[in-house]
Amino acid sequence: MKKQHPTYTSTTNACKLCKPLGACLAFKGIEGTVPYLHGSQGCATYMRRYIISHYNEPVDIASSSLSEKHAVYGGGPNLKMGLTNVTEKYQPDMIGIATTCLTETIGDDVGMYLDEYQRECGKANNLPGFVNVSTPSYSGTHMEGFHGAIHQVISQRSKGGTATSTVNLLPGFVSSADYRLLHEIMGDFGLDCTMLPDLSATMDGPVRDTYEKIAAGGTPLAAITTMGQACATLEFGRTLRDIHSGGHYLQETFGVSLHRLGLPIGVEETDKFFQQLQTLSGRDIPAKYQAQRGRLIDAYIDGHKYVFGKKAIVYGEEDLVVGMCALLAEIGVFPVLCASGATSGKLADAIAAVTADILPRQPIIHEGMDFFEISELSRSLAPDLLVGHSKGYPLARKLDIPLVRVGFPIHDRVGGQRILHLGYSGAQHLFDTITNALVEKKQADSEVGYAYM
């Protein structure tokens, strides 16, 4: 069921972020890499603040700090000076350069500037590697920026050669806890894996005695170079388009077979992931995960009556919305509205693909939506809970219903980077959180106030 979405010209409380932010996040998950924005100073500072508020980790993003005269005469000289300064102070292995709406519009050719810069510096100079990605903020969302950066890292750095037994894993943008879990799972299947990016340590690191200029961890650059030799690529994202897909590039260029799956959220989507790993590794699913799956289904049964028939509004990044719908549907919660600020054109089909065999009817699904529109629609839908990031809190408060926090940004709670979404253990965490949110709401609203369920 797809209704005509209200068409307003203005945007109020957007349900998306801008492209360069996504590129910076992707670069933060690569070993020894400093993200760099070719634009005016404000972009870097705003995005740092926004990302820091979620992770509570230092986020150094360099900037060309362009001023008016650079906007007129071109930002090349400042880009080069900035790269020299970052190299001097951070000694990075790589600088990941993303453009902004300013430099895209004045027509700066970053690729050309980088060639010039490397020529000018000469071979003797120990320069870091460079990767550049075009991220004009006037099209797409932070997710196109994220995937675009991954795509460019792969296309600019990876090489072919003798095939290895390594598996490439491109999970997209998930939490630090999720990246950690994926490492563990790949290891338990005995698979040698290159996961790109990897924000498990870089954005959730320990307290230090000395400030690390660049946080340890991230996908090793050497591993990125050999991604073209891998035996297969696993890529998460049912709404991902080929032009933004690193997996697609590796398949087309080096013939690395691509297996695209949804984010493994909930039992069914995780089963598909594990089946794939079984095939790739030739091993049985390790007992540990069979036990996790068993406990999860036992928990589903223990809690099913508290959640059945409840109505949820799910919003945020498209692939996360799809994954959350898969989980909600299989526990008996009805997604009534699924919304994203993004516009892949694939959201409705992707949600149908993971829910059609369970849900009696499809939810209302809207791309390109903001919170004003979500709020307007929510009135007639009488939802029982919201599922998404912190920016839905004002709506949850207005509707007086619980918000189950998933994704990015989590600005009003600690531990956003440690929310586990993926795998059986992630589903366990989400199921407990959703069930308890609904139970707590009922308990708080009750005049009796029982201390048992």
Binding site: T9, S10, T11, T12, N13, A14, K16, L17, C18, Y36, G39, S40, Q41, G42, A44, T45, M47, R48, R49, I52, Y55, N56, E57, P58, V59, D60, A62, S63, S64, S65, L66, S67, E68, H70, A71, N78, L79, M81, G82, T84, N85, V86, E88, K89, Y90, C101, L102, T105, P136, S137, Y138, S139, T141, V207, R208, D209, Y211, E212, K213, P394
Partner: protein
């Protein structure tokens, strides 16, 4: 230890007492230096933000609007239009063909929907490049809708945050002088540069009202368009956070002959001094006027009462905090002066102080009020700050959200003194909250586990 500053930044760092002060400041940020500064748009947006019954429409791609959505803890006692994030969300086609039509449609739609008292339209980087005529669109909508519709010339690349303050002041100046000033007391003032974070301006207003002084407009905190329109009827402008609104006060002095006083509401000393300065101003303005003397009397009584309540309560924090070391890195240097004094009040030593946008005079004053050896920095960055924090053995760092992880990652305490905070730190009560905030970080037992305190870990590291 390796040099922490880039060569081109060495003249933006000074050590109190070492050489005569000559600090370079008010410069463009150095490319690649990871400045903690924002942009022109940010400067405008944060100053105008608390005008709660105006529509604030960001004309540009989505980022600029979404990163400033509900960003300030500026409270309103009534309408809360300022807490919504409005954008024209410019798309590629708008960039190619121009965004004026979309802007006009969006403005009209939002004014019809929310019936605001005025609208501010913020220009962003891209609008400056594609050359949309904001003035023309605003004029057109103003005529059609009958409310002031004001363009804010805040293209991000046209300077730093200070340029944004100026654009905001220019925008407010267009409202001032358009309202009716009948019935305003001779003993009246406007509050500029307090943003009503956590309700601070309500405390300050209470002080003024109990002194017998009328507040005409709290321009930048819990602000209202109608009040701003009649702000030129006040006898005095009281300016805090001088970086952001001193320009507006200067404009009002030139145009309407309203004098201004620079004050700070942080710490007992500066808060008391602010109230006395205002009382003294009215005594000088209206000599032989018994009401002016009565204001001074009431001010004395108020300060005495507040100080008498506060000092004993501070004592318990002072006992724990005495001798601890503090570092300060804030947006405007005026706040830094007060913080240096506030720390002294609880016997803490400031070893590092800096700001994003200080002027040479500001740094001279900082040098004068800090102890020898104190590091003074302009427009600093994470690498410099962390190196000084560690070298100086700092116990608590005062800054904003971007500085917080820098402190925490090194296992150092932190106090948020920026515009997102939810604790009232201004006024007499604010000093107590400030001490409590600092105390709750410095005295936490968690630091015993961090590498710099944990001898087991240190040995392992060696």
């Amino acid at each position: 230890m390796e040099t922490v500053a880039l060569h081109d930044r060495e003249d933006q760092i000074h050590i109190t007492g070492e050489t005569p002060l000559k600090i370079a400041c008010n410069k463009e940020s150095l490319a690649g230096a990871v400045s903690q500064r924002a942009c022109v748009f940010c400067g405008s947006r944060v100053v105008l933000y608390p005008i709660a019954d105006a529509l604030h429409l960001v004309h540009g791609p989505i980022g600029c609007a979404v990163y400033t959505w509900d960003i300030r803890g500026a409270l309103s006692s009534g309408p809360e239009l300022h807490r919504l994030s409005f954008s024209t969300d410019l798309q590629e086609m708008d960039v190619i063909f121009g965004g004026e039509k979309k802007l006009q449609a969006a403005l009209t739609e939002l004014i019809d929907r929310h019936a605001p008292k005025a609208a501010f339209v913020y220009s962003t980087c891209i609008v400056g490049i594609i050359g949309d005529d904001l003035e023309a669109v605003c004029r057109h909508v103003e005529e059609a809708k009958g409310i002031p519709v004001i363009p804010v010339k805040s293209e991000g690349f046209k300077g730093n945050k200070r340029a944004g303050y100026k654009a905001a002041c220019d925008a407010m100046a267009r409202l001032i002088g358009t309202g009716n000033t009948n019935g305003i007391s001779r003993f009246s003032l406007n509050i500029l540069g307090d943003f009503n974070l956590a309700g601070e301006i309500w405390m300050i207003r209470d002080y003024y009202e109990s002194m017998g002084v009328e507040v005409v407009a709290n321009i930048t905190g819990d602000g209202r368009v109608d009040d701003i329109c009649r702000a030129h009827g006040a006898a005095l402008n009281v300016v805090q956070c001088s970086g952001s609104t001193m320009l507006l006060a200067d404009m009002m002095e030139e145009q309407y002959g309203i004098p201004s006083l620079r004050v700070s509401y942080f710490g007992i000393e500066d808060m008391s001094e602010a109230l006395y300065d205002i009382a003294r101003f009215f005594q000088q303005r209206y000599p032989e006027d018994s009401e002016a003397d009565a204001i001074m009397e009431r001010t004395r009584a108020l300060v005495q009462k507040e100080v008498r309540t506060l000092v004993p309560q501070l004592e318990k924090y002072r006992r724990d905090l005495a001798g601890k070391k503090a570092a300060i890195y804030v947006g405007g240097s005026f706040k830094a002066f007060s913080l240096v004094k506030a720390f002294r009040l609880v016997d803490m030593q400031v070893v590092l102080v800096g700001s994003q946008t200080g002027t040479e005079e500001d740094y001279q004053e900082l040098e004068a009020i800090t102890d020898p050896g104190t590091v003074i920095v302009d427009d600093s960055n994470p690498l410099e700050l962390t190196s000084f924090l560690k070298e100086k053995g700092v116990d608590v760092f005062v800054g904003g959200v971007k500085e917080r992880p820098i402190a925490y990652k090194l296992g150092i305490g932190f106090c948020d003194h920026n515009h997102e905070r939810k604790e009232a730190l201004a006024g007499f009560e604010g000093m107590l909250n400030f001490a409590r905030e600092v105390h709750s970080s410095v005295m936490s037992p968690v630091w015993r586990f961090v590498p710099r305190k944990d001898s087991n870990l240190k040995e392992e590291a060696v």
